[in-house]
Amino acid sequence: MNQTFTFTDKAKRLCYLLMGIGFIGLIWGYVRDSNVPADMAGHYNHNRFWANMLVNSFFFMGISLAGTFFLALQYAAEAGWATTVKRVMEAVTCYLPVGLGLMVLMLVLGEFKAHNLYEWMNSDLFTKGTLDKPNPLFDEKVAHNHSYFKLPFFFARTLGYVLVWGAFQRLFRRRSLEVDLNGDANHIVHFKNVKSAAIFLVFFGFTSSTMSWDWLMSLDVRWASTMFGWYTFSGMWISSLITITLLTVWLKKNGYLEEVQESTIHDLGKWMFAVSFLWSYLYFMQFMLIWYTNVPEEVSYFYDRIHEFGYRWTVWPAFFVNFAFPMIMLMSRDAKRNYGFLVIVGCCIFLFHWLDVFNMVMPATVHAHWRLGITEVTLFLGFLGLFLYVVLNNLAKAPLMVKNHPFLEESKHLHI
């Protein structure tokens, strides 16, 4: 039985190729994006390029962050079904330090005025000026929120998320590898994991919301929705589940993970189905309530996207594909056990959840000056290459099957 994954040269070359494309896209995108559109004069600083960087930094970071959440959930819920794919989950979480690093880099660059994605970083908007020389750019709403976005407070929060999440990710990974080598007498480490997972989940429960306000919702600084945090979280979660499922299927196809039962794949399919539904539910409820009440401050979010800035053909497909596709294709039991179905649905909604992040970031930052062009595609591919490289590299570092886990036998004999 093939218990260690080898990161073949072929796979490595593919990752390098993707990263190469991304690198070219990086230069191309930055250089090409130098014309300042008239309506955004003064605060367009290669925004399309940077917004793309933000979309990808966030999307892939979200995958590994939600992966860490899902891993912790398995511990806390005493779940046994997924023990055989635990290493795959762990590999996905291993991108977290890189992803968080890139996100922090994006924020720091914004603070140093490399880009103008976050309007509230622009001090012109919240300084009132004097009575005889009032500041024409002064914006009352932004000034109101300013105390929340003050530099030290904002970065203290960001640093807090990054350090704590990263620390928990490293902790789970380290303990998992240790148990492989040294065993786990009386399951002491396992119970320690349960405890750590509970602490992480509570911390994550609060910070996943505040993070989404800080990093995404603040792009539309004049707009607020109480559901935004949970909605963003569900998007990250489903993207993460897709990644785990696709990786598992790919590994199985390549002759690894023989002990992963068809039932485990079936369960992963169910999770994909269920979380897609959760995401659609949250999306719909947020949309419906804002549409229904039609309060100007709130409805601007959707109005801008659908009417003003012309994102109609990215907003609606992102919702309908992400809702209907898994809903219809993964409803039957056989479909969830069919690799072809899982791969098609998975790839498709993976792309469309990326598009969902795109829809959150782009309209807020480049308004109508968007395109799905070379910059978007190359940067996505570049980030994908980086993500895959880190994940596969970490997958190769440890045996594919955990040892000494109390629920391993349950998972190996899973039959539903």
């Binding site: 719909f284 949309f287 419906m288 549409w291 229904y292 039609n294 409803m331 039991r333």
Partner: protein, 172 residues
């Protein structure tokens, strides 16, 4: 040849399954199995096919969805369009977010009830129907295998049943 009916009674579901495998292996059809709880894995052995109730539920659900859509389209858009909350009901599509909740409820309503009714009809379960379990203990702790065999096979079958742990055998 004369057919006789045989009841093989087991105390344990695992033994029942082993017995069924053995009997089926002898080329004898297991007519029915009565048990106090679902014995997992017995169906393929005695040749019970996978149920298609889920497909029924899906179809009922689609029906419910279409009915609700039609109802709201007819009442709110066609028959008497009204302007409510600044949202004129000129077309179904413009107002569809407000129609989703009822469409969903109706889908679930029809799927759930349709499926339950189909189940009751297919298994013929309703008030006043006489129970068909031959031994009252099969709703408690006994597992009963009902066989219809040729008289000539009787001793062979009985031996197989006993061998696999049947506690009682009744010939009727």
């Amino acid at each position: 040849m004369n057919k006789i009916t045989l009841h093989g009674i087991y105390d344990d579901d695992q033994q029942l399954k082993e017995g069924a495998i053995k009997i089926v292996g002898m080329g004898i059809h297991v007519k029915e199995v009565f048990s106090p709880f679902p014995v997992h894995g017995i169906d393929p052995i005695i040749g019970v096919k996978r149920t298609r109730l889920a497909i029924c539920a899906f179809i009922y659900g689609l029906t419910g969805m279409s009915l609700a859509t039609w109802m709201m389209w007819y009442m709110m858009v066609t028959d008497w369009p009204t302007e409510i909350g600044g949202k004129p009901n000129f077309s179904y599509l413009l107002n569809v977010p407000a129609f989703i909740p009822i469409t969903f409820e109706s889908t679930v309503l029809c799927a759930a009830h349709g499926m339950a009714i189909t189940f009751f009809l297919r298994s013929w379960l309703m008030p006043g129907v006489k129970a068909k379990n031959p031994d009252p203990r099969t709703t408690d702790n006994k597992f009963l295998m009902l066989l219809e065999i040729n008289q000539g096979d009787q001793s062979k079958v009985e031996a197989a049943l006993r061998e696999t742990g049947a506690s009682e055998i009744h010939v009727c």
